[in-house]
C-alpha cells in the first residue's frame, strides 16, 4: 500500500487515454471508427454495470432499461425538435433526469430484495419498458423504429469518436475515483457483508440507491451516445439481449475492476466482428457463433476472475513470490 504504485497505474491509464485520442488520426475508416465508438459506448455501459455488480454485488437483469431511456430520449428529441447542439444538450439532460428518477424508484422498490429475486424483478421492469416502447407507437415507432436527423457536427464520425472517447476517459477516471473513495470502500463492504456494514453505522440502503442512480445515469448516457452513432432507434434498445451483452462484457473483463468492463467490451466487439468476417473466409466458419460461444467457455476456464481480475491476481502472486 503506497501512493507510488497507484500513481503509476494512473500514468499508464493516462497514456492509454492519450493513445485513444491519437487513433482517429491514424485509423480514418469510418466503419472501423464506428466499431471503436461502439466499444466506447459499451465500455461506458459496462462500467456502469460494474458499479452494481462488481462494487456492490448486485446482479441486475434489467440494466438495459436505463440505456433504452437514454436512447429514446435522444431519438425522440431529435425527431421532434431542430437537430442542433442545443437539442443534444437537452437530450443528455432529459435522459439523465428520467434515468435518475427511474433508477431512484427502481432502487427504492427493489433493493430490499435478495439476489435472484432482485435480478428477476429488474428483468420484469425492463420487460415492462420494452412493452411500453412497443405499445406507445406514436412516439417510439414500435419495433419498426424510426430514423432522425443530427446536427452536422455530430454527423461527423471524427467528432463523434472524440466525443465518445472523451466521455469514456472522463467517466472512467471519475468512476475510478469514486470507487477508490471512502464511499467506494463502503460499497465494497456492502458487497462483502451487508448486515455488518449496517452495524458499523452505514446506511446501506442510501448507498445502494446512490449507486443505483449513478449507474443508471451513466448507463443512460451510454444510450445517448449509442443512438447518436446509430441514428436510428427501435425497441431493441430495451431488449434483454443487451443486458446480457453488457453482463458478459463486465464478467469477461473482470468484475470490480472498471477497466475490465472496457476491455471486455473491446473483446466482445472485436471478437464478434472478426469472427463474423471469418464466415467469408471459409464455409466452415459460417457457424462462427460456435467459436464465439467457445470463447466464453475458455475465458471462464483460463480467466476465472475475468481477464483483468485474473491477471491482477497473478501479478500479485508473482510479486509475493518474488519478495518471499
Amino acid at each position: 500500500m503506497n501512493l507510488r504504485t497507484i500513481e503509476k497505474s494512473t500514468w499508464v491509464y493516462l497514456a492509454i487515454a492519450f493513445l485513444l485520442f491519437v487513433v482517429p488520426f491514424l485509423v480514418t475508416g469510418r466503419s472501423i471508427q464506428f466499431l471503436i465508438i461502439q466499444i466506447f459506448v459499451f465500455g461506458i455501459f459496462a462500467m456502469s454495470y460494474d458499479l452494481l455488480l462488481g462494487y456492490t454485488g448486485i446482479i441486475s437483469f434489467g440494466h438495459v432499461m436505463f440505456f433504452g431511456v437514454g436512447a429514446y430520449s435522444t431519438a425522440v428529441l431529435f425527431d421532434r425538435f431542430e437537430p442542433t447542439i442545443f437539442t443534444f444538450g437537452l437530450a443528455i439532460l432529459v435522459s439523465a433526469i428520467i434515468a435518475g428518477v427511474v433508477s431512484f424508484i427502481v432502487g427504492i422498490l427493489t433493493l430490499r430484495l435478495k439476489s435472484h429475486f432482485y435480478a428477476m424483478l429488474t428483468l420484469a421492469l425492463a420487460g415492462l419498458f420494452l412493452v411500453g416502447a412497443e405499445k406507445w407507437r406514436k412516439v417510439t415507432g414500435g419495433s419498426d423504429g424510426f430514423t432522425f436527423g443530427l446536427p452536422d457536427m455530430l454527423r461527423d464520425s471524427f467528432t463523434l469518436y472524440m466525443l465518445s472517447a472523451l466521455s469514456l476517459v472522463l467517466l472512467f477516471f471519475g468512476l475510478r475515483r469514486m470507487t477508490k473513495s471512502p464511499f467506494g470502500k463502503v460499497l465494497v463492504a456492502i458487497r462483502e457483508n451487508e448486515s455488518r456494514t449496517e452495524s458499523l453505522g452505514y446506511q446501506v440502503l442510501h448507498y445502494k440507491v446512490i449507486v443505483s442512480v449513478v449507474s443508471g445515469v451513466v448507463a443512460s448516457y451510454s444510450g445517448v451516445l449509442y443512438i447518436l452513432s446509430l441514428r436510428f432507434v427501435d425497441t431493441s434498445v430495451f431488449a434483454t439481449d443487451l443486458t446480457i451483452d453488457v453482463l458478459l462484457m463486465t464478467i469477461i473483463g473482470g468484475v470490480g475492476t472498471l477497466i475490465g468492463p472496457i476491455i471486455g467490451a473491446s473483446l466482445i466487439e472485436f471478437a464478434h466482428h472478426w469472427l463474423s468476417d471469418l464466415s467469408d473466409v471459409h464455409w466452415l466458419f459460417e457457424r462462427w457463433i460456435i467459436l464465439y460461444g467457445t470463447i466464453f467457455i475458455l475465458i471462464v476456464v483460463f480467466f476465472p476472475k475475468g481477464i483483468v481480475g485474473t491477471l491482477a491476481d497473478r501479478y500479485i502472486r508473482w510479486r509475493a513470490r518474488r519478495t518471499e
Binding site: R30, D144, L230
Partner: protein, 379 residues
C-alpha cells in the same frame, strides 16, 4: 465480403453491397435473398457479370438481424468497399438503420425484402427504392382475396408494429371493397396459447378470419383445434415460405394470397429462375428468392439505361417510373415513393400429389394496380 468476379477484364467495376440476415433467426430469408440476387445477376447479364461494359462485383454482408451490425456493415460497404449500390435487408429494423446512410453517401439503395411501410413512407428518402412488396400491398392482396360487400371480417395479428400496420392497412383496403372489420385481435408474438384470442374471434362471429402472422410459433394448430372452421368462419392468410407450408396442412381449402410461389407466375423470367434454381440448389426457389432476383434485375436495368453511369442523380431519375421484368412479371418503381408495384397472387390452398404439404393454387393474378398501396411519404 463474398466477392464474385467474372472473367471479363474491362476497366471499371460496379460494386454492389448486399445486406442480409445470413445467421440468426431470419437466416432462411437472408439466404433466399442471396441466392435470388446471384441468380438475378446471372440472368440479367447472361452469365457475363457485365453490364454496359463494366464488371459487376457483389459483396454480401451479414447483418445478424441487429441494426447496429447492419449499420457497421453498411459503413464497411460504403467506406471501405466504396460500393455503388446497397441492397437489403431482411428485417425492417436493419434496413431503417441503413437508409439514412444511403442518403448521406448518396448511393442508391434497393430495399429487399423488408416490408415495413415506413421505409417508403414516413422514413422515405430519395435514394431508397423498394423491390419488395410492402405491408400495405400484402393487405391489399388479402383484401382482394376475400373482401366484398357486407363481408364481416375479424383479424388476428401479432401485437407489434408488423401486425398492427398489417391490420390497419388491411382494414383500409377491405373497407374500400365494402367489407366490415368487426373485430381486431392482437396476440403476443411469442405466445404459446391463442385460445383466448380465438375464443373472442369466435364470439364475434365473422364470415372470415384474416390472420397476419410471421415468425415460428403459428396459431394454425389451435385454430383448427378450436374448430373455428366448423363454426362457419373461413380462414384467410398470406402463404409464406415453404418451411411454413406443412404447418398449414389443416387449412387446406383456404382462400388466401401470396407474394410468390414458384408455380404461380407465368413468365419467362420465372421459368428460368425455377429451372436454374432447381439445377443449382436441387430445389425450387422460395418466397424471397424472386425478390433477390428482382433487386438484381432492377439494378441491372437501371445501369443499362444510364449506360453504366453510377451517378446517383442520374440513376434516381432513371429509376423513377422504371419498368423492369422480374420473376413476378413487370414491376414499376412508382415515382412518388419508389415503391415497386407488382403482381400479387390470390390463391387457394390445395393438397398436393408431389409434396406431403399443401400448396397454393392460383385463383387469380392480382395486377400491380389492384394492389397498389397508398402513397405514404407525403408526396
Amino acid at each position: 465480403g463474398d466477392a464474385e468476379e467474372s472473367g471479363a477484364e474491362s476497366g471499371e467495376t460496379i460494386k454492389i453491397g448486399v445486406l442480409a440476415s445470413l445467421t440468426g433467426a431470419l437466416e432462411a430469408y437472408g439466404h433466399q435473398t442471396k441466392k435470388g440476387f446471384e441468380l438475378g445477376l446471372d440472368y440479367g447479364t447472361d452469365g457475363t457479370m457485365e453490364v454496359a461494359g463494366k464488371k459487376i462485383e457483389v459483396i454480401f454482408e451479414d447483418t445478424e438481424t441487429d441494426p447496429k451490425v447492419a449499420r457497421q456493415k453498411a459503413l464497411t460497404l460504403l467506406e471501405d468497399e466504396d460500393v455503388d449500390f446497397l441492397v437489403g435487408s431482411s428485417s425492417s429494423g436493419d434496413t431503417l438503420a441503413v437508409t439514412p446512410l444511403a442518403e448521406e453517401y448518396e448511393k442508391v439503395m434497393v430495399v429487399e425484402p423488408a416490408a415495413a411501410d415506413s421505409i417508403t413512407g414516413a422514413e422515405y428518402n430519395d435514394y431508397v427504392f423498394r423491390t419488395a412488396r410492402n405491408s400495405s400491398q400484402d393487405a391489399a392482396a388479402a383484401a382482394a382475396a376475400i373482401a366484398g360487400d357486407g363481408v364481416k371480417i375479424a383479424t388476428l395479428a401479432p401485437d407489434y408494429a408488423f401486425g398492427r400496420d398489417g391490420v390497419s392497412a388491411f382494414k383500409t383496403a377491405a373497407e374500400d371493397l365494402g367489407a366490415e372489420i368487426i373485430h381486431e385481435e392482437y396476440a403476443d408474438a411469442a405466445a404459446t396459447d391463442f385460445t383466448a384470442n380465438i375464443q373472442k374471434i369466435i364470439d364475434s362471429d365473422p364470415d372470415y378470419l384474416y390472420v397476419v402472422w410471421a415468425g415460428a410459433n403459428t396459431p394454425w394448430n389451435q385454430i383448427v383445434d378450436m374448430q373455428v372452421q366448423e363454426k362457419g368462419i373461413k380462414i384467410t392468410t398470406g402463404v409464406a415460405d415453404r418451411a411454413t407450408l406443412p404447418m398449414m396442412a389443416p387449412l387446406v381449402g383456404m382462400d388466401g394470397f401470396t407474394l410468390y410461389y414458384h408455380t404461380l407466375p407465368d413468365n419467362e423470367v420465372n421459368d428460368w429462375l425455377v429451372e436454374k434454381h432447381q439445377e443449382e440448389y436441387d430445389e425450387a426457389p422460395d418466397l424471397f428468392t424472386p425478390g433477390g432476383m428482382s433487386a438484381a434485375l432492377a439494378v441491372l436495368e437501371a445501369l443499362k439505361q444510364t449506360d453504366g453511369s453510377t451517378d446517383s442523380k442520374e440513376l434516381i431519375e432513371t429509376m423513377e417510373g422504371m419498368e423492369f421484368a422480374t420473376p413476378k412479371g413487370t414491376m414499376t418503381f412508382r415515382p412518388e415513393d419508389h415503391q415497386a408495384l407488382q403482381e400479387m397472387y390470390s390463391v387457394t390452398l390445395v393438397e398436393s400429389d408431389e409434396h406431403d404439404y399443401p400448396v397454393p393454387e392460383l385463383k387469380k393474378v392480382l395486377t400491380p394496380e389492384e394492389t397498389a398501396p397508398p402513397i405514404m411519404n407525403g408526396k
